[in-house]
C-alpha cells in the first residue's frame, strides 16, 4: 500500500517545505509510536487483508466509476464520476476511519476520540468503532451540530458520545483544538482518529495512504472503461483528504492534471471564504506547517462556507506542496456556484452530491469550458442527504 508521491513525506514528515510536527512535547512519544505502528501495519499482509475484507464486505468497495453522459453532453467533455458517495455511511471518510480504527485496535487503544466538521468523519468513526466494539467520543463545533443535525443523530445511534464545542468559532477548527486537548490529557491510552490529511506527522501521510484506494481504483477503472487515463482529476479541498486520496495514484502520471477546488464562500475577503491555498499564507496550525488563513499577526481567521466540511482555515501540507511545485492547481468555487452545480448534477444524472462535493463539480465545469473534448474524472466525495435542511433553507429544495 503506497501512495507513491515522489518519496514524500521525508523522515521528518515534510512535503518539501510543508508538514512537520509542531505539537506539545506531551504528544511527541504518542506520535512516534503511531508512526512506527502505522508503518508496520501498512506493510503487514494480514493487517491489509483484514482492512481489504472490511472495505469489500462492510464499506462496499470498490466504488463504481460512473460515466455521466448528460453532464458530458452539456459540458462538452467526457465526465467520469468516482462514486465515494456510494460507500457505507455516504462518503469517502469511511476509508480512513476504518483503517485508523483497525490500527487503534491493533495498538490496544483504550478509547478513541475524533473531530468532525460536516459530521461525515464523525459518522464514519462512530460506525467503524461500533463495528470493532470500541468506544468513541466525537468533538463537533456547536455551529456544525446545529447545521448537520441528522449526522449527530446517526453518530448517537452508533453509540458514540457527541461533545459540542462552543469555544473559538465553534466549527471544525475548534473541534480539532478540543480533540487535541483531549489527546494531550491521555496521550498513551487514547487514539486520536483524525479525519483529514492535516495535523502533525504521521497523519497527513497515514490519511493519504488510507484514502489512496480512491485514486488506485479510479485509475484502473478509467483504463478499463476508456482505455486511457483521464486528462484531469478534480476533487474538493477542505483539509483535503478525498483530494489527496484521488490525486496520489496519479501524481506521477505527468499528463494527468490535478485540480483541487476550495470553498470560495460568499467572496474573496478575509472571513468570507475558506479558500486556503488560493488566498492563504504559510504558517503553523494544528501541528503542521502549511497554508493558512490568518491575519498579519498570525491569528487564525474565521472562515465561511455553505459546506461545513470545507469550513477550515488550514489545508493538508501535501496540498500546499503540490501547489508550490505546480503539480496540482487549486481554484475556488463560491457558495452560489456550488449550489448551482449541485442542482445541475441532481437534475442531469440523478445524483444528489454533498455540498462539499458540489464545489468539485463547479470547478470541473470551469475547467471543462476551457478544455473541450477532454476526459474529466471527478471524485464524488459524498452524498447530499445530510444537506437537505441547508438546501431547503437557501431555497434550493422546494
Amino acid at each position: 500500500m503506497t501512495g507513491g508521491v515522489g518519496g514524500y513525506p521525508d523522515a521528518r514528515g515534510r512535503f518539501g517545505a510543508f508538514g512537520g510536527r509542531y505539537v506539545p512535547e506531551t504528544l511527541m512519544g504518542a506520535l512516534k509510536r503511531l508512526e512506527s505502528e502505522a508503518r508496520e501495519a501498512l506493510a503487514d499482509a494480514s493487517f491489509l487483508a483484514r482492512l481489504d475484507a472490511e472495505l469489500d464486505r462492510w464499506v462496499g468497495r470498490p466504488s463504481p466509476l460512473t460515466p455521466a453522459p448528460r453532464l458530458s453532453a452539456a459540458w462538452g467533455v467526457e465526465v467520469l464520476l468516482k462514486r465515494e458517495d456510494l460507500n457505507h455511511t455516504g462518503a469517502h471518510k469511511i476509508n480512513n476511519a476504518l483503517g485508523q480504527a483497525l490500527l487503534a485496535q491493533k495498538m490496544g487503544a483504550k478509547r478513541i476520540v475524533a473531530e468532525t466538521g460536516a459530521g461525515q468523519h464523525g459518522v464514519a468513526s462512530a460506525a467503524a468503532c461500533a463495528r470493532l466494539g470500541m468506544g468513541c467520543r466525537v468533538y463537533m463545533g456547536a455551529v456544525d451540530v446545529e447545521r448537520q443535525a441528522p449526522n449527530v443523530a446517526r453518530m448517537k445511534l452508533f453509540g458514540a458520545e457527541v461533545v459540542p464545542v462552543t469555544a473559538g468559532d465553534a466549527t471544525l477548527r475548534a473541534a480539532i483544538d478540543e480533540a487535541m486537548r483531549d489527546w494531550v490529557s491521555d496521550p498513551l491510552g487514547t487514539f486520536y482518529l483524525l479525519g483529514s490529511a492535516v495535523g502533525p506527522h504521521p497523519y497527513p501521510w497515514l490519511v493519504r495512504e488510507l484514502q489512496s484506494v480512491i485514486g488506485r481504483e479510479a485509475r484502473q477503472q478509467a483504463l478499463a472503461t476508456t482505455g486511457r487515463l483521464p486528462d484531469v482529476v478534480v476533487a474538493c479541498v477542505g483539509g483535503g483528504s478525498n483530494a489527496i486520496g484521488a490525486f496520489a495514484p496519479f501524481v506521477e502520471d505527468d499528463a494527468v492534471a490535478l485540480l483541487g477546488v476550495e470553498a470560495g464562500g460568499s467572496g474573496p475577503g478575509l472571513g468570507q471564504h475558506a479558500a486556503t491555498i488560493v488566498h492563504g499564507r504559510p504558517g503553523v496550525l494544528h501541528g503542521t506547517y502549511s497554508q493558512l488563513l490568518q491575519d498579519e499577526h498570525g491569528q487564525i481567521h474565521e472562515t465561511h462556507s455553505v459546506s461545513a466540511g470545507l469550513d477550515y482555515p488550514g489545508v493538508g501540507p501535501e496540498h500546499a506542496h503540490l501547489a508550490a511545485t505546480g503539480r496540482a492547481t487549486y481554484t475556488a468555487a463560491t457558495d452560489t456556484e456550488a449550489l448551482d452545480a449541485l442542482e445541475e448534477v441532481a437534475r442531469m444524472e440523478g445524483i444528489l452530491v454533498a455540498l462539499e462535493t458540489a464545489h468539485a463539480f463547479a470547478g470541473a465545469r470551469v475547467w471543462a469550458a476551457a478544455n473541450p473534448g477532454k476526459t474529466v474524472l471527478i471524485c464524488v466525495s459524498g452524498r447530499g442527504d445530510k444537506d437537505l435542511g441547508i438546501l431547503q433553507s437557501v431555497g434550493r429544495a422546494g
Binding site: R12, Y22, E25, T26, M28, G29, R173, D177, V284, H297
Partner: protein
C-alpha cells in the same frame, strides 16, 4: 546576555526565598490599558514573569487561558504592542514571552529576536515547538543571547529527556501533568519526576501546570528552582483580587 539574566533570576530568588516565583500573565488581560502597571506591580514581587502572547487556537491550554487569550485578542493585543510594552516597563523581574509558534512566524523570526532583545525580553517559551522543529529558531535566539526554554513532561522518555534538556537555555520547563494547563498534579510522582529531571541537567528546573496554592509551592521547594503559576494567577485577576497580595499568599 538575556538568557543568563533569566537563569540567574531563577537561581537567586529575591528576598532570600527558597524557590523562584514565576507568574504567568496573558498580555493585555484583563485590560490592555492597565497592563503596563500590572506588569510593573507583579514584576516588583516575582523573580521572572511569563508573558503570554494570545493566540486564537491555544491547543495546549485549558479553559482559563483560552478565555484570557480570547479577551486579550478582543482588547487588540498584538506582538508588536507586547514588545513595546515590555520595552517601556521598568521591572526587576526577568520577562519571558510564551507564545504559540504562528504569531512568532508571522512577525518574522529574524526581526523578532532583534526586537525582543532590544525590548529587554530574556527569551521564549514555545509550547508547540518541540525539539525536532526548534533548531532554526534556537540558533536565531542564541545569536541574540536570548533563551529558548524547552518543555519536558512526565511521559518524555529518559533518553529524549537528556536531549531536550541539552537543547534548552535559561531554564527547563517541567510540565508536571499530562494534560492541558489548569489541571492538578499527583504530589507523590511529582517529586520523583523532578528529581529524575534534575539529574540530567545543570539548568534550573521550573515546574508548571496545576500550581495553585502556598502548599503547592512549598512542596516544590528543594526539588525545583522555580514555580510557574499560570491558571491560578489568571483566576485571581478574573475575580478582581489583588495580584500582589495573591502572589504574596503563595510565599511561606
Amino acid at each position: 546576555m538575556s538568557a543568563a539574566r533569566l537563569e540567574a533570576a531563577i537561581r537567586n530568588p529575591r528576598g532570600g526565598h527558597g524557590i523562584a516565583l514565576m507568574p504567568y500573565l496573558t498580555a493585555g488581560y484583563p485590560e490592555r490599558e492597565g497592563f503596563p502597571e500590572l506588569l510593573a506591580r507583579v514584576g516588583a514581587i516575582a523573580d521572572a514573569i511569563e508573558i503570554g502572547v494570545p493566540f486564537t487556537d491555544p491547543m495546549a491550554d485549558g479553559t482559563t487561558i483560552q478565555e484570557t487569550s480570547r479577551r486579550a485578542l478582543e482588547n487588540g493585543v498584538t506582538l508588536p504592542w507586547i514588545l513595546d510594552t515590555v520595552k517601556h516597563t521598568e521591572t526587576p523581574a526577568a520577562c519571558v514571552l510564551m507564545s504559540y509558534f504562528n504569531p512568532l512566524l508571522a512577525y518574522g523570526l529574524e526581526r523578532l529576536v532583534v526586537d525582543a532583545a532590544d525590548a529587554g525580553v530574556c527569551g521564549f517559551i514555545v509550547p508547540d515547538l518541540p525539539l525536532e522543529e526548534a533548531g532554526p529558531f534556537r540558533e536565531l535566539c542564541e545569536a541574540q543571547g536570548l533563551a529558548l526554554v524547552m518543555l519536558v513532561t512526565p511521559v518524555t522518555a529518559p533518553e529524549r529527556l537528556k536531549r531536550v534538556c541539552a537543547a534548552s537555555s535559561g531554564f527547563v520547563y517541567a510540565v508536571t501533568v499530562t494534560g492541558v494547563t489548569g489541571t492538578s498534579a499527583d504530589p507523590a510522582q511529582l517529586v520523583a519526576y523532578l528529581t529524575r529531571l534534575r539529574a540530567v541537567t545543570n539548568l534550573p528546573v521550573c515546574a508548571g501546570f496545576g500550581i495553585r496554592s502556598r502548599e503547592d509551592v512549598a512542596r516544590l521547594e528543594g526539588v525545583a528552582h522555580g514555580a510557574i503559576v499560570g491558571t491560578a494567577m489568571l483566576d485571581a485577576l478574573r475575580d478582581g483580587r489583588d495580584p500582589v497580595r495573591f502572589l504574596e499568599s503563595l510565599r511561606s
